[in-house]
Symmetry: C2
Subunit: 268 residues, 2 copies
C-alpha cells in the first residue's frame, strides 16, 4: 500500500486535466436544499449561474468577484416553488457587469432573455445547450454542458428521484417522456447535476439514474402510479415563491432583504 515517493513521474505526466478549460462550482442552500451552479470559461472569464437562491446572492456575488469572473447570464431551470430565485438580486449586486436573466419562454416568467429547447447559450468559447424537459412545470428546461459532460436537470431529474407533478402544471406522463427523450438519451457517463438533493448527494450520472432511479427506471404506468401516490404536503414556500419568481425574485421579498437592499430592489 505504501510505496514511498514512487509514482511521481507518471502522476505528473497525467495530471493536466482538460477540465482546466472551464471553471465549475456547485453551491448549496441548507434551508431549501437547492444547488446553485457556476460555469465559467477559464480563458475569457465569462460565466453564468444556474438557479441561485436570493438569501445567498451575496455569497454567490462574492465568489464571482473572487474568481475574477465576468457574469454574463443568471439562468433558471424553471419557476421554483420552494425558494425565491437570487436572479434579480444578483443582477443588482453585480450591476456593473450587465448580467442578463434567462428563463424558458414557456415558463411565463419575466426575464431579459427567453430560451426554448434547441437554443444554445454561449459564455466565452463555451456553450450550453437548452433542452425542453416539462412535466414538473410546463416551462422546465435542462441545460447541457457538453464540454464538461454535465447536464443541469433542475427538478426534472433528481438523484434517485424527480420533481413532484402534483402542482403548478405538473404532469407525470410529460415528465417521464421529457426525462427519457432529453436526459436519458445523453451518454451514460454524463454527470447529472440536479436543482436539489435532500440526502447530501451532490452528483449522479445518466447511467446511474437509468439503472437505479426508483421512479424513472420503471415503465410509464408504474411511474404514473408512483407519482400519484406520493401524498406530499403543500409546498411551504409556494405562495411566496411563485409570484416572486415570475419577476426574477424581486416581488414581496422577505422583510430582512427589503430592509437591507431597499434601494437596489426597485425594478427588474
Amino acid at each position: 500500500m505504501l510505496s514511498g515517493v514512487g509514482h511521481q513521474l507518471r502522476r505528473m505526466a497525467s495530471s493536466v486535466s482538460s477540465d482546466a478549460r472551464f471553471i465549475f462550482r456547485q453551491w448549496f442552500d441548507r434551508e431549501s436544499c437547492t444547488y446553485t451552479y457556476l460555469l465559467g470559461d477559464a480563458d475569457t472569464k465569462e460565466a453564468l449561474i444556474i438557479d441561485p437562491v436570493i438569501q445567498l446572492a451575496e455569497r454567490d456575488a462574492q465568489q464571482v468577484q473572487d474568481m475574477g469572473l465576468n457574469l454574463k447570464y443568471v439562468m433558471n431551470t424553471h419557476v421554483h416553488a420552494d425558494h425565491i430565485t437570487g436572479t434579480g438580486l444578483l443582477k443588482k449586486l453585480l450591476a456593473c457587469t450587465n448580467v442578463k436573466s434567462v428563463i424558458s419562454k414557456e415558463s411565463g416568467a419575466e426575464a431579459d432573455v427567453y430560451v426554448s429547447g434547441g437554443d444554445e447559450i454561449t459564455f466565452g468559447d463555451m456553450v450550453v445547450e437548452v433542452r425542453s424537459t416539462p412535466g414538473h412545470t410546463n416551462g422546465c428546461i435542462s441545460y447541457v454542458f457538453h464540454a464538461g459532460r454535465r447536464v443541469f436537470t433542475g427538478d426534472a431529474l433528481l438523484i434517485r428521484g424527480c420533481g413532484r407533478t402534483d402542482f403548478q402544471e405538473g404532469n407525470s406522463e410529460t415528465l417521464y417522456n421529457s426525462v427519457n427523450s432529453q436526459i436519458f438519451s445523453l451518454p451514460d457517463d454524463y454527470f447529472v447535476y440536479p436543482a436539489h438533493d435532500y440526502k447530501g448527494l451532490t452528483v449522479s450520472t445518466v447511467g446511474e439514474e437509468k439503472k437505479y432511479n426508483p421512479r424513472l427506471s420503471k415503465p410509464l404506468d408504474e411511474f404514473k402510479t408512483i407519482m400519484s401516490n406520493l401524498n406530499l404536503d403543500y409546498p411551504k414556500q409556494i405562495d411566496v415563491a411563485l409570484p416572486a419568481n415570475r419577476v426574477c425574485g424581486l416581488y414581496n421579498l422577505p422583510a430582512a432583504l427589503t430592509e437591507k437592499y431597499g434601494d437596489k430592489l426597485v425594478a427588474k
Copy 2:
C-alpha cells in the same frame, strides 16, 4: 447568444475529459456540515472514502454498491470532535470487501493502517499522498490526489477559514506552518476539498485560499491573534465524538444506531 446547432463538432472533439480515469464524489452531512469524499479508479474499481459520518454510512455504502466499486480504504483526516466517524460501520456494512481503516500514527486512534507524512496510499492505479498538517489536532493529515489536482484538507484548511485551535492539541502556530508548507506549496490550481463548510460552498483552490483566506493570508502574528480571539463555544458533540472516533466510531454509539446495527457493532 443563440447559435442554433453550431459548435457540435468542436464540442465533441474536446469532450473527453481525462477525469474519466477516476471516480469522484462529494457527499454532505447537513447536521454537522461534514463533507465525505469518495475516490475510485475507473478501470480497476478500487476505491477509498475519506471522513464518513456514522449516520450516513448506509447512504455511502449504497453509493459504493451502485457504482460497482470495491472499497479498499476508509480514511480519516483526524480524530473528529464534531461527529462520529462512519469508518467502523462502513467496514461492517461492506464487510465482504475487506475494507481497511486508515488514520495517522500521530492521532492516537485505533485503525487497521497507520500513515504519516510522505506515505502513499494506492487504489487501483491511483495514488494519494499523505501530508502531515498538524495544528487543529496533532494527528491531522491531508490527502493529496495529484492525478485529480485535489487536496483533501480535513480541518487544517477550510474554505475562507480553518479548523479551530483551542481544544484537543490545537496550536495556531503549528497550524499556520502546516498550511503554508504542506498545502499552500501545492500549485495554485489544485482544488481544496475541506472536511466542512457551513455556507454551502463545496470547493476552493490553493490559489484562492492563499489570496482570500481571511485568516491564513495574514502574517503569522496576525493569524495567532485572530485564532486566540474567536471565542467559540465548547463543541457540542466533542464528549461523545472523541472516545468513539478513537476506535473507528464503534464506542458508545447513539441509541438508534446500536438498536439498528446491534449485532454488527461488536468489534473494530
